[in-house]
């Protein structure tokens, strides 16, 4: 091979490599985006059935129940308009409390219960997860427009 051909080959290989990398990245990006839905949107059937997503809102007062094994927790997430039962097995974050904001990631099970693989809490007591805040805001707006 002449050196000019070699150079060309290297350039072609480089471009091909970059193309593959870009394809890999974008493909992984597409399939790993996690969308957020409020309980109202979920009950309207907007959430995907077989794909993980996030829900958020407030933990409904008096809704936190533990199974006898002590580690399975059931609670209800509400945006004050609609609510969504959630089941989670594991240790809850420090800042999980009834009446406080929460965001959970998981899938809807066959029984219509949201099976959370992760319950998220942030690092500050006064801090409301932005997703949860938005869900409450939307529900409040929707209710207002219903009244009118």
């Amino acid at each position: 091979m002449k050196s000019r051909h070699k150079k060309l080959l290297v350039i072609v290989l480089g471009v091909a490599g970059l193309g593959i990398a870009a394809a890999l990245i974008l493909n992984a990006f597409q399939s790993n985006l996690v969308f957020f839905f409020s309980p109202t949107e979920v009950s309207a059937g907007k959430a995907p059935i077989d794909r993980a997503f996030r829900i958020g809102g407030l933990v409904e007062d008096g809704s936190v129940k533990r199974d006898p094994d002590g580690l399975t927790v059931r609670f209800v997430v509400t945006d004050t308009a609609k609510s969504m039962p959630v089941i989670y097995k594991g240790i809850l974050p420090d800042l999980f409390k009834e009446g406080k904001g929460v965001v959970a990631e998981g899938k809807i099970g066959g029984d219509g219960v949201f099976a959370a693989s992760q319950v998220l809490a942030k690092h500050d007591e006064n801090y409301m997860p932005p997703e949860a805040a938005q869900a409450l805001e939307q529900a409040a707006k929707a209710q207002k427009s219903l009244v009118q």
Partner: protein, 653 residues
């Protein structure tokens, strides 16, 4: 009175920064030595005044002056003294003051250790750093003054976030900022080169040690942050691909690409424009990282809107710095001659490949970090990009990078021979592949991830050893090998140690969440954990339920662990304080979840067995030591002596 003094000192510092920025830059353009000579004293004066301001803030925190808003928000009278000191940089305002202080420190360091540089270079470098400082000081004084008073004064403070009350957090932020801000030096050198048009091997030699030192500090800062998250967040994870982590990781990737590209520019005079561009990118990402983490954008895009002045200032500043430097680059870079031809298979080509891979990795992290923010800012809904994306992208991209890491240092500059490389490396390759295939079989059955990790780790270790052996064969002695060689090899070895640690902990850790009553026990990885209940325990500014967990193996009692669940007095915020028993081969990690009955006898308990997790931090420490060693190489100091006469003449003039 003292806070007002601090405020005044900041104003003086701003004026000095303006002087340091404007006069020397004009002087350098016009060849006026008097104006250029202003740079050094102005820079050093600025440092003194920022330091005074910083001490004033420290004083306000240590003396619990709750009439200062920043202190009232972020400190507490019961807070231990050491945390009252670290609380100075726990807030938005204080962290920016620390940023400015470290910038002034770096500037002063450049002004002291630049006797061998041409005067116009020094003037331009210090001038550019002055400009950056002007931006930050103006931001502090107009939108985020740490000395703002609170009238009437608060009776007591709201306390520092309990998560930050850990000694990992005492040193993490300053080290991280030393890295972030250190890239400002590389940035200033790059801008100075663009302005003067002097971009040669000498320029690369000047800016190289600074860049390497900044990179080493950033490595240390990221390592400490990861170590803190591991110990303090109570989840046993050491990297979450959280935007705050990515914010520090992106400049690190760019900096890693930069130090490799600088090597080519110094040794071969090639990649000049590329190196300059990387220096601009590294510092731009440092700025972006600082602002992302410290402006509240990450917790919510809307936090940005709560103080529009801050948001507008930050965006404006970013646009000016990034846009301005890229425009300058576009204007001046085409005029630079590219030098140093090289073959498609040579050390240059391999380092170029390394840079391409690193930038692809950087792009993927940038996409995953900024895209959700962008979508949110545009009101197009909320999405999140989690660890699955980053893992799916990052690991495949690291494969070629780690492989090249083995070949690059052994390849000849300009033109290497492929058959020759194959002969030199075939045994290393065979042993690495064999290790990768066989080691997982002896542990837990075949596992593709583990195979890849072990093979890469072994590959790097072997090629490092080959590098040493070949040097010795050519008559080198370990003690006389240059420090830059030692530094590079140590850093690469650290990478191998880190990769081994990551592979082992990611594939072979064991974890269990379990309900435990007093006297209950559970067994994990051969260790038996017996829960002996909790007792009340009072800390300086918190109350805690303190658990006692006895750990035994094969019926033999080994040690007792005390995980805690704390409630902080001022904020009422609960906090999990994990108990960790570390050693060279594994960590045993116990965290208390929550009480499961009213008498708080039964608890949710999380136990971990984490093999080789500490190798992660060891690996990073090797990289840091390697960085400092390389930066202290003799040739950077020889250059000082060789060109001292010209410097002296210029000084006299």
């Amino acid at each position: 009175m003292i806070p007002e003094l601090g405020n005044f000192a900041l104003i003086v510092a701003l004026l000095l920064a303006l002087t340091q920025a404007v006069l020397p830059l004009i002087g350098a353009q016009r060849g006026n030595l008097t104006l250029m000579a202003v740079a050094r004293p102005a820079a050093q004066g600025q440092f003194v005044f920022v330091l005074i301001a910083y001490f004033c803030l420290v004083y306000a925190f240590i003396t619990n002056d709750f009439s200062v808003e920043n202190v009232a928000r972020n400190s507490f009278s019961q807070l231990p003294e050491i945390y009252r000191f670290t609380a100075t940089w726990g807030s938005h305002e204080g962290s920016f003051l620390l940023w400015v202080l470290i910038l002034a420190f770096w500037t002063t360091a450049v002004s002291v250790f630049s006797r061998h540089l041409p005067d116009d270079m020094v003037a331009r470098v210090l001038g550019v750093m002055g400009l950056i400082s002007v931006g930050f000081l103006a931001f502090l004084l107009t939108t985020s003054n740490p000395f703002d008073r609170l009238l009437p004064a608060a009776a007591d403070g709201r306390d520092m976030n309990p998560l930050l009350q850990d000694w990992g957090m005492i040193i993490h932020p300053p080290m991280l900022y030393m890295g972030y801000v250190g890239f400002a030096v590389a940035f200033a050198f790059a801008i100075a080169a663009l302005l003067s048009g002097r971009l040669d091997a000498a320029w690369a030699r000047w800016s190289r040690p600074w860049t390497t030192v900044a990179w080493a500090f950033l490595t240390l800062g990221i390592m400490l942050g990861s170590w803190w998250a591991y110990r303090e967040l109570g989840w046993g994870g050491w990297w979450f691909w959280d935007p705050t982590e990515n914010a520090s990781f992106m400049p690190w990737i760019a900096g890693t690409a930069l130090i490799h590209s600088l090597a080519v520019t110094e040794k071969r005079g090639a990649f000049k424009a590329w190196t300059v561009l990387l220096a601009l990118i590294a510092f731009s990402l440092s700025l972006l990282g600082t602002f992302l983490v410290r402006s509240g954008v990450l917790s919510s895009v809307h936090a940005f809107a709560t103080d529009p002045a801050r948001g507008a200032f930050i965006l404006g500043f970013l646009v000016i710095v990034i846009g301005g430097s890229l425009a300058l680059f576009a204007w001046r870079a085409p005029k630079m001659l590219t030098g140093g031809r090289f073959n498609w298979f040579s050390r240059e080509a391999l380092l170029l490949a390394n840079n391409v891979v690193l930038l692809a990795a950087l792009g993927s992290v940038l996409l995953g970090t900024l895209y959700p923010l962008l979508i949110d800012a545009l009101g197009m809904g909320k999405i999140s990009v989690g660890p699955p994306y980053f893992n799916a992208v990052f690991v495949p991209l690291m494969a070629p990078a780690l492989f090249l890491m083995g070949i690059g240092p052994l390849a000849r500059w300009k033109e290497a021979s492929l058959p020759d490389m194959v002969t030199r490396l075939k045994w290393a390759l065979a042993i690495s592949v064999a290790t990768g295939v066989l080691l997982p079989l002896t542990l837990d059955g075949f596992n593709a991830w583990a195979t890849f990790g072990f093979a890469m780790s072994m590959w790097i270790v072997l090629t490092v050893l080959i590098g040493f052996r070949e040097r010795m064969k050519n008559g080198g002695r370990l003690a006389t090998l240059p420090r830059s060689f030692w530094g590079m090899q140590l850093a690469h070895f650290g990478m191998a140690v880190g990769v081994a640690g990551i592979t082992l902990v990611a594939n072979y850790q064991e974890e269990r969440d379990v309900r435990m009553n007093v006297g209950d026990h559970t067994t994990l990885a051969g260790y038996t954990f017996t829960f002996q209940g909790t007792t009340e325990h009072a800390g300086p500014n918190y109350r805690a339920a303190r658990g006692t967990v006895e750990v035994s193996k094969d019926g033999k009692k080994l040690f007792v662990m005390h995980p805690e669940k704390r409630i902080y007095n001022a904020s009422g915020m609960p906090m999990t304080e994990a108990a960790i028993d570390p050693n060279f081969f594994r960590d045993v990690y116990v965290a208390l979840g929550e009480p499961l009955d009213n008498e708080a006898r039964a608890w949710a308990v999380r136990v971990f067995h984490k093999p080789f997790i500490n190798w992660l931090w060891f690996g990073a420490v090797f990289m840091v030591v390697g960085g400092f060693l390389a930066a202290s190489d003799r040739r950077y100091r020889i250059a000082v002596k060789a060109s001292a006469p010209t410097g002296a003449v210029a000084q006299g003039a």
